[in-house]
Amino acid sequence: MSDFKIEGYELKPGFKGMAKDTGSDQTMFKGVHWGKAMMWIFLLSDTFIFSCFLISYMKGRGSTIIDWPNPSEVFGLHVFGVDVPLLLIAIMTFVLITSSGTMALAVKYGYEKNKKMCGWLILATAIGGLTFVGMQAFEWGKLIHEGVRPWENPFGAPQFGSFFFMITGFHGTHVSIGVIFLFIYAYKTFAGHYDEGKRGWFTTMKGDYVEIEILGLYWHFVDLVWVFIFAFFYLW
């Protein structure tokens, strides 16, 4: 991140540094771990996947001549005799942001090589993710109970159901994969693999706390995508 030195290379800040780094030998991203660079490029590619989903959704929703259902009502909950719009979605957003925060702190403690804090925070993140997936399952169940299917929708345009299940399903898959990895990494942290530089199961690379940051990037990306889905699918 911010402060590091490279022998025989002056790191310039800002745009001058950008030009110099790009034109230099060996590495373009100075001091960036291979795995971290890979995760960033992967996330860029994944951004294009989600963008294509959301663009398709925009095109589909924009060109239908049957009315689109009002998400505020469809996703509302009836609690204590009051209709609260979007309540479940609001709670899901809250949970996911919470888990994003714990992840950010886990990365911070990882860099400080604070094994215990790091491990517990990863575990907390994983539990947050699990809660999110659970609530999403509840939401799916509720909609299916009300008669929404991928191919039909009692509230209006059938594409509503199609896009809803596809996009949230794809995002949910990302969250689920993230949760699995969070549990694995929590185990590896507690077992001290990053302190002793133990090699991973499939790689010759030695374990390092930078792996926590790489996982963190993925997890924040999942949160980032949710910000866009929340805005475009639920609030629009």
Binding site: S2, F4, S63, F94, I97, G216, H220, D223, L224
Partner: protein, 111 residues
């Protein structure tokens, strides 16, 4: 990249910055929820939704994903491809408007 000799982290960020961003994200999410709660409509709704969305996305990317502290060489590489997405969005807006126009013209008006 095995043991990287140049990569010793000499300092990490203070916990305060993370807590601040965390808090801000909650507040902004609450605000965007309020957009729906008060049922703002039209341009106001749109601009508020997009404003909060980009603010939240920016905060997550800049601070949680550390992009603010990264060197520009990386930031540059990550942001340029978004122009292709922007172009795609822009053209698909034009496309759905045309589709919906033809649908109304042929199905509703009857040609």
């Amino acid at each position: 990249m095995e043991k990287t000799k140049k990569q010793e982290q000499t300092s990490t960020h203070k916990i305060g910055i993370y807590l601040w961003i965390w808090g801000l994200l909650f507040v902004l999410s609450f605000f965007s929820y309020m957009v729906d709660w008060y049922q703002f409509q039209g341009v106001l709704r749109w601009s508020l939704i997009l404003f909060f969305m980009f603010l939240k996305a920016g905060l997550i990317m800049a601070f949680f994903m550390h992009l603010y502290w990264e060197r520009y060489a990386l930031v540059n590489v990550l942001l340029w491809p978004m122009t292709a997405i922007a172009c795609f969005i822009f053209l698909m807006v034009a496309e759905f408007e045309y589709t919906v126009f033809t649908r109304f013209f042929y199905f509703v008006v009857g040609g």
